[in-house]
Amino acid sequence: MDIRLSAVSHHYDQTEVLRDISLEIPSGKIVCIVGPSGCGKSTLLRLIGGLEQPSAGEILQIGSPPADCLNPLTYIFQDFALLPWRTVRGNISLVLEDHGIHGQAAGDIINDVLARTKLSDFADALPKQLSGGMKQRVAIARALAVNPAVMLMDEPLSALDSQTRELLMDDLVNLWSRTPFTAVYVTHNLAEAVRLGHSIMVMSRRPGEIREIVHLDTPLHQRGLGDAEMEEKQKYLWHLMREEARAADAELVHV
């Protein structure tokens, strides 16, 4: 299932947030979105997932999601959004219960996704007992449980320390290499973008427009830490963003 955005614009009251965004999200690819703070990245992601409606333009699903897909557009949130009163297992079964999956069938799915995110030993722990990285892995496991056609991730790693982030990025790359998934990945962090993105959309400051779309051809599992080409791309992205970021920063000061 592909996603196509055509001429999407959005405004809140008088503030124009997004202007004329047209983007293809091909299936099986990870599209990263980077841009200065407040340029509308989170808003764009909410629009793509149908949590809000754009003021103008269309967001289209092309093709139908695979038959075993329970929730085609699935989010992974920056703040994890785990129910604190449910165990790890309970948090995952939450999203299965409504699809009539209970008992043995649910147990099988839960054990599978916990194994894939290396959480099998923590199935009965409450969220408060987990570290930040583990919580985000639970959120990833929960997203995997519904077999999403497209994963929408809003700065999923930015609440974590850099070592945990590095490890989780490896986990994501491994997950993708085993079964390629489609994802829109919003981030502040250019290193994450060049590590995970098949294409990277750079946005201008508010109102957010597409500044440029950068393509990366190196396969995900060959992109190591300190890879020369990655460094090059990252520098280029920073060059693109620098003026925007500076201007956005100055704007906030004058508010």
Partner: protein, 269 residues
């Protein structure tokens, strides 16, 4: 550090943390009761406190023993407890239902919040004669009074608690296509539970107060009737027996809620 202060003074860094985290100290509350009662006993025995001011705790205990052995204690208590349970259950469940609706629906909120604000300050005791006319002098008016008294504080506590549920969790539920019912049942209600339970503590104390008021009219048995009869005869020993029973009832209910809280809210930090 600075070169001028060369007198090397070595001290421990002063400790400034701690506190603000009450932990259970069961025996302290019990000790407070024991000390107060012991003081009253000593005061009345020595004559420092005249018998007209305060009855001797030992006499009160003796009166309690008589009440128990005559079998009347159970009679009063069972009648009162059933009134309390029925009335409070009606009021609290209606209050939780209405509170959740106010928390979730704009029109219900706009329509009912002013009404609740108007009902809250009415002294419910003043409405007892009205309830007698509406629901009869028997149990009906008593249930109604207690239910009405617990209803308003429960509503206020519940909608406040629903307002405080993390919106991100609700967004999460929507993003996984959970049905409206599931979101309410699995996200909103558990999230509001801490607030609902602490509101229930207040509501149940009010229910006990209203129990006595309800038994002012047309009640032969019941702790309230017992207290009122003793009061009108200026029989201080029996008055204090009744009051003590009410206090014990309050402590017991509060302990029950504490137990429910520990069980249901184990997930809290």
């Amino acid at each position: 550090m600075s070169e001028t202060s060369n007198a090397a003074e070595i001290r421990h860094v002063p400790f400034r943390g701690g506190g603000f985290a009450p932990s259970p100290r069961r025996w302290v509350g019990f000790a407070v009761f024991v000390v107060l009662i012991a003081l009253a006993e000593i005061g009345t025995q020595t004559g420092f406190i005249t018998p007209l001011t305060l009855p001797k705790p030992s006499d009160v205990l003796k009166t309690f023993g008589e009440l128990y052995s005559s079998g009347l204690l159970w009679k009063h208590l069972s009648v009162s407890l059933s009134r309390l349970v029925v009335g409070a259950a009606l009021g609290a469940s209606a209050g939780i239902a209405v509170g959740v609706m106010i928390g979730l629906f704009s029109y219900v909120r706009a329509g009912l919040l002013p009404l609740v604000a108007a009902l809250f300050p009415i002294p419910k005791i003043a409405l007892l004669p009205l309830f007698v006319i509406w629901f009869g002098i028997d149990e009906g008016s008593k249930y109604a009074l207690i239910a009405f008294g617990t209803f308003t504080p429960t509503v206020v506590a519940t909608y406040g608690a629903v307002d405080n549920v993390d919106r991100n969790l609700i967004r999460m539920g929507q993003s996984f296509n959970l049905s409206w019912m599931s979101i309410v049942r699995k996200i909103v209600l558990p999230g509001a539970m801490p607030g609902i339970l602490s509101g229930l503590r207040i509501s149940l104390a009010i229910a006990i107060i209203l129990l006595v008021a309800a038994e002012m009219l047309g009640a032969e048995y019941g702790i309230g009737a017992y207290i009122l009869e003793a009061g009108s005869l200026y029989d201080l020993e029996r008055l204090f027996v009744g009051v003590a029973i009410l206090s014990i009832l309050g402590v017991t209910l509060s302990a029950c809620i504490g137990m429910i809280e520990r069980r249901l809210l184990r997930w809290r930090v």
